[in-house]
Symmetry: C3
């Protein structure tokens, strides 16, 4: 069990300590589960009451006045500090440095210092793996693949020929990078394959979830921008350009040649059609189907996607629709009665 | 070809025979395809007519009066008996017991009796595999993984460090258990990884379809309850709790920290947002997007999800909407006419 | 760098040259990126203006009168010729013929001439691989699997026991063929597995995208028709029959026992429920959820799916709904006024 004094923890996290620096901390837990030797955290002031009731031995927070008399660690971004504390109390087991005897590394491949190449890994000729990178068991790198430094490639990842992965990327198990784009020239009902000869370029600090698929470009590159984080089972089609710092949540899909600006959020199971432009900082909510360009900063919902406010209004209107028909029928009855009674109507009948 | 006398078949299935026990049965088929030496079945009485026209040599059913004069096997649950008959006529080829010479099993791993460890399997230190379990070719078990007894792990499955799988589980090819949850602390547009140090716990008698992904918990466990069956390409996010006996159909997705009660059904391509509670026996129909808690036994549909009856009504109303606008326009015309003819209106005009 | 004279290129593509046959072409690019030694193409006359402004050294087109005075290659299907030109300038690296020493090929397996069996491949007893087929690293073929001639199986594909793949098929990384169908006999809340003893049959000239899953039939075959192209992360359930020349776009899903005619298009994230029939040449647009049969040539959209025109109308109506409610309220006010003023109403009040 790892045990760290609170003053030492404050120092390592770069935060301010108020309280008993000699207290020993042995783990990190959310407020409701924390014990007397656990560090916990909150940011939003509405959790202050819960924090006061928590048994946590110390609490990371932004405003110490919300928790008077307690041992606290003060910083601007308590959740980030909490994430760092997690890494302190749960250090990742370092992968064994070296090349496992069962790995098949082509003669022409180049491996950096301190790489860890797992069992049954295959690395093709001309490929390069940067220093400190871990390639998990059963992963396959094709020919002339480049993977940067400090990457963590989990087991059973496939990176096809000529694709590139930057530094400090994390690729989870089952990821496929560089499968062919879905392109066919159809003549008389026969779909002839259009060769897909471009690449995939995954920039630095990207994380790709389990079983994610990213197709190579037809002629140019499919690109995942720096710092973008992709959840499990996401599909990125050929020629797509994803900007920096985007969040693509599980089972989202992006069709061919579409571009996303920076810091776009696609929530779970959302989809974007091909050849579109999604603006910077746009948010596409869960299950949304985008068929038109989305402007910078817009939040869109529904199928077809429209501004979220409009979608919410339409849903509310839909619930009122049965009422509308009732009122309409009632009105028709009343108007018919008025018409029967009207003097003109009587005259016309004569 | 396997050949079983009908009386012997009745005995092995534990059902009642009415008819010729000496008849030889050589296979099982649905009613429309069954031949004179096939066993077939039906449960719903509306298939009785089809059963009477079937050439099946014998029929499993609940009510023998529906098929007079035929050789029948009578039991309360004919479909279950049919499933068991299928296993009799199509016995699974037993996997070869032992550890394939190409497998890489860490010194500290523990293997039960009669396990079958396929080619190119990797098993990390501290991992345990229960007796009678089959690990298919190319599967990777990380460090300190536990897999119970009598499991069937198909090829190319990944179970990451410290995750647990119970007894009698079936994991299809490409399953990933224990990928990192999708958690980031975002500061100034940079998404900092929140270490995911929890586990995945898959309880007994669970089946997971091909390329299913189940993320590990952030601090605690992601859990798949006993007897739950998961179809292909389903996503289960970190900290999710799935109860016992649930059915998660293909391409469904569950966001982080959501809990499902027991015997919940999520149909294909359905999704549930994070931090929600779906009650026992609830049914989420295909393609539905759930953004609020679902109560016990509820059936919900649509995006956003609402009670199915309400959704069906809304769809019906939507189809009538063009008619509503026509009626409204007609009414406006009639009211305008009435207003023109009204004495008061005339007076006001003077 | 590959360099081909324009007259030689015309000859190899089987198209008509108008212009300078001696010009050297060194690559293929879309109109906007093409340089003076690139071949480009267009088909739709609305790109003629862009073609005139392009720097392309030569252009494949159908109507040479749209590009007078330029070096052009004339043919009926310029996009198809472009695809063939792509293959000329970007020839696929031939895989090394032979069986890699780390592959595990069962004694009873049969390999055709000139196969390429990659590192860590596993091929079970009784399986057959046709001549000229490439099996990528880490792929697993079970027992009695048949793969035809001239196939390209990418790394980490799984083909389970007894399944069949035709000639000239392309299977991308992570494909799973022959996982069990999702079938259970539920009694008293316990889901008993129904053995899935059928096969998957993939006919000739099929392409399957990365991480696609195709379940085996319960008793008969799940079938993917000749020339059908399947994009990444698509799910095909047990007993499904997909006709010839279909296009199943990424993340689409087809439930059990449904059949698709020939040349059906399912766009991205579309789904079809079980036991349905989708007619020849039908189009199911992106994100659509089909719960009823679709007739030949129909185009359907929405959840639940309806004819696309109807869906578009319903969406337009929905946007007008707030206006309808306003008009209704106004009309109610006017009718109430008429009623107050009506002589009868006055009389009734006496």
């Amino acid at each position: 069990v790892i045990q760290v004094r609170l003053d030492e923890l404050a120092r390592r996290l770069g935060v301010e300590l108020i309280g008993d620096g000699g207290k020993e901390i042995r783990g990190v837990q959310p407020l409701e589960k924390a014990a007397a030797d656990d560090l916990s955290f909150f940011h939003n002031p509405r959790y202050a009451e819960q924090a006061r009731n928590s048994r946590a031995g110390a609490v990371l927070l932004a405003d110490p006045s919300l928790l008077p008399g307690r041992d606290v660690l003060v910083c601007e971004h308590p959740y980030l500090a909490f994430a760092r504390a997690l890494a302190i109390f749960h250090p990742a087991e370092p992968a064994p440095v070296g090349v496992h005897c069962s790995a098949v590394v082509a003669a022409g491949a180049s491996l950096g210092d301190d790489v860890s190449i797992g069992p049954h890994v295959v690395i093709g000729p001309g490929s390069r793996v940067g220093s400190g990178t871990v390639i998990g068991a059963g992963s396959v790198l094709g020919d002339q693949v480049e993977v940067g430094e400090g990457c963590l490639i989990h087991p059973r990842v496939v990176i096809e020929d000529r694709c590139r992965v930057g530094d400090r990327c994390i690729l989870h198990a089952g990821v496929v990078i560089g499968s062919d784009g879905y392109g066919f020239a159809t003549v008389d009902g026969v779909h002839h394959k259009v060769p897909q000869v471009g690449r995939v370029v995954v920039e630095d600090d990207v994380e790709l979830g389990a079983n994610v698929c990213i197709d190579r470009g037809t002629l140019g590159d499919t690109r995942i921008g720096r710092g973008t984080k992709v959840d499990n089972l996401v599909q990125v089609a050929h020629n797509v350009q994803v900007g920096e710092g985007c969040l693509l949540v599980a089972q989202a899909g992006i069709s061919g040649s579409t571009s996303l600006g920076h810091h776009v959020v696609m929530a779970g199971q959302a989809g974007v059609a091909g050849h579109l432009r999604v603006g910077d900082l746009a948010v596409i909510t869960a299950k949304t189907a985008v068929f038109k360009d989305v402007s910078d900063g817009a939040m869109v919902s529904g199928n077809p996607a429209r501004p979220q406010r409009e979608w919410l209004t339409a849903n509310a209107e839909l619930r009122r629709l049965a009422g509308v028909r009732k009122r309409l029928a009632e009105l028709e009855r009343r108007v018919a009665e008025l018409e029967n009674d009207a003097p003109d109507a009587a005259e016309e009948e004569r």
